[in-house]
């Protein structure tokens, strides 16, 4: 099996330092929509200048290089055990080169490992097998702690909010989650929402929805309409960039439905900050490309 450590290192560098084009374009549109001279527009101006600078200097967009979430689709027969080792080695190397902050803390001892080495759960790697004639793809998402902390999970029904076990109930708890978050998750954010599943699976799926591009249409027309409605209603709340007040509180909303037990109805909201760092590499034999 070929050694991809250096190529994965390059994936990490690009993800940490180079914001995806769809996110940057949406931030630019939001800048134009805010009142000239407002604190909201000032915040977006600083954000966009920072995006340019990080790309030019190849330094992290945000100092919180976050939880590393790898999504790997591997052709049948490839060793995931070896690939996992290469990913872990690339993460340690990327930390030495300062593309990543040493972010791995042993919760029991309180010690930071200093190089982003960790345990079996660190970094997070999801493996999914595909046909043997398909390429290997590795997607990486970096999700900062500030936005991870404002994520929320609800179980329906919720009497206090009058939220029942239907999409109308889902809408209410999502509105509540964003209101609770205010600017603390580095607004303007992107919402990844999963409805159903068990608690763990629901949160996982809510993050997976964030792999899609901004503005991408949901194949389910009902959910697609709901995504648009939520984005519009949330932006009426006026929380704005950084919570300074303003028109742009979220950039996009993404929803996925999962099968569930009759007894359980979970709604998981993952909040992604404006520094929505995700990149993908594709390995086709010896040919490697990044997008």
């Amino acid at each position: 099996m070929q050694d991809l450590t250096q190529e994965i290192l390059e994936l990490i560098r690009r993800t940490s330092t180079d914001l995806p084009a769809d996110v940057e374009a949406k931030l630019r549109t939001s800048y134009a929509d805010e009142e000239p001279g407002s604190a909201a527009q000032g915040a977006l101006d600083t954000i966009l200048k920072n995006v340019d600078l990080a790309r030019k200097n190849s330094t992290p967009i945000c100092q919180d290089t976050g939880t590393l979430l790898f999504y790997v689709h591997y052709p049948e027969g490839l060793s995931t055990r070896k690939l996992k080792k290469q990913i872990q080695d690339a993460v340690v190397e990327a930390t030495k080169l300062n593309y990543l902050r040493p972010n791995s803390v042993n919760t029991i001892t309180g010690k930071n490992t200093g190089d982003n080495s960790g345990d079996d759960y660190y970094p997070t790697i999801h493996f999914e097998e595909v046909d043997e004639n398909l390429p290997l793809t590795i997607e990486l998402m970096l999700k900062g702690g500030g936005c991870e902390n404002v994520g929320a999970q609800y179980k329906l029904p919720n009497t206090e909010m009058g939220a029942g076990r239907d999409l109308a109930g889902v809408r209410k708890v999502v509105l509540d989650a964003v209101h609770q978050a205010q600017g603390k998750g580095c607004a303007p954010g992107v919402l990844g929402i999963a409805i159903g599943g068990d608690r763990g699976g629901s949160y996982l799926a809510s993050k997976e929805t964030l792999l899609g591009k901004i503005g991408e249409e949901n194949p389910n027309p009902e959910l697609n309409a709901m995504e648009d409605q939520l984005t519009e209603e949330i932006n009426q709340m006026g929380i704005g960039p950084m919570g300074f007040g303003g028109k742009t509180t979220v950039l996009d909303t993404k929803i996925k439905g999962l099968h569930r037990l009759p007894a359980s109805y979970f709604v998981s909201v993952s909040y992604m900050c404006w520094a929505y760092r995700r990149r993908k590499m594709t390995v086709n034999g010896t040919e490697i490309s990044y997008d």
């Binding site: 604190a39 000032g42 915040a43 600083t46 954000i47 200048k49 920072n50 600078l53 990080a54 200097n57 330094t59 992290p60 967009i61 945000c62 100092q63 919180d64 290089t65 300062n98 990543l100 902050r101 040493p102 972010n103 803390v105 309180g110 010690k111 930071n112 200093g114 900062g144 702690g145 500030g146 902390n149 909010m161 009058g162 209410k172 509105l175 509540d176 209101h179 205010q182 600017g183 603390k184 580095c186 209603e233 009426q236 709340m237 006026g238 929380i239 704005g240 950084m242 919570g243 300074f244 007040g245 900050c273 404006w274 520094a275």
Partner: protein, 206 residues
């Protein structure tokens, strides 16, 4: 645009109002979760007996904090192995986690402000009025840009807390911030939250 150099006087702090943009210059220190807990446990609440190292660090940081600022930040730093430190990325972290400690830390060390993001709550706002001090908001995620206002990393304390959690003493020039909580009891965060609460209440009726 207003410019302030550390240490800052009480009069200059009382002059600051919510919404003002300020460029800060001078020597300040980073401090976040581990640092605030350490300050509280070892010195303010005195729940833990400080070690000799704790006492030495305490003596070293006291003059920086008197009239000074704590920056809620866990930076990306190059040169950690050689000691030739440089900040590469240094945006603010979410401040609300320090809410249990912040007002006490402000009063104990005579801080004139903290820099962070996301704002803080009632106890800190009261602390701002009493000390007096203000809450300066930096732009979250603007890490490469903010790192450019750091002229020099002077020293580091408690590196055993880990790079993000250590106390980095830095000399900054024209660090851009906005006052979002002042020493007169005003908070931009309360205003935005109140308005968004009204909109939310109407949306919930639909």
């Amino acid at each position: 645009m207003k410019k302030l150099t550390l240490p800052i006087s009480d009069e200059a702090i009382r002059d600051l109002k919510v919404g003002e943009t300020v460029l800060l210059s001078g020597v300040m220190m980073t401090g976040r979760d581990a640092v605030h807990k350490w300050m509280n446990d070892a010195f303010i609440a005195k729940e833990v007996q400080p070690t000799e190292d704790d006492l030495a660090v305490y003596e070293a940081i006291k003059p920086i904090l008197d009239g000074g600022i704590i920056y809620h930040c866990g930076p990306v730093v190059s040169g950690v192995e050689t000691g030739d430190y440089k900040f590469l990325a240094a945006g603010p972290t979410t401040s609300i986690r320090e809410e249990p400690y912040q007002a006490d830390v402000m009063k104990y060390f005579n801080l004139k402000g903290v820099i962070g993001k996301g704002g803080m709550a009632g106890k800190t706002l009261q602390g701002c009025m009493d000390t007096p001090a203000v809450y300066f908001h930096a732009i979250g995620g603007a890490a490469s840009l903010i790192a450019q206002s750091v002229q020099e990393v002077l020293t580091v304390h408690k590196l055993d807390f880990g790079v993000p959690e250590a106390m980095w003493v830095i000399d900054v020039k024209d660090f851009p911030v906005v006052v979002t909580m002042d020493s007169h009891g005003d908070s931009q965060h309360n205003v935005v939250e109140g308005k968004s609460q009204e909109v939310l209440a109407n949306l919930m009726k639909k």
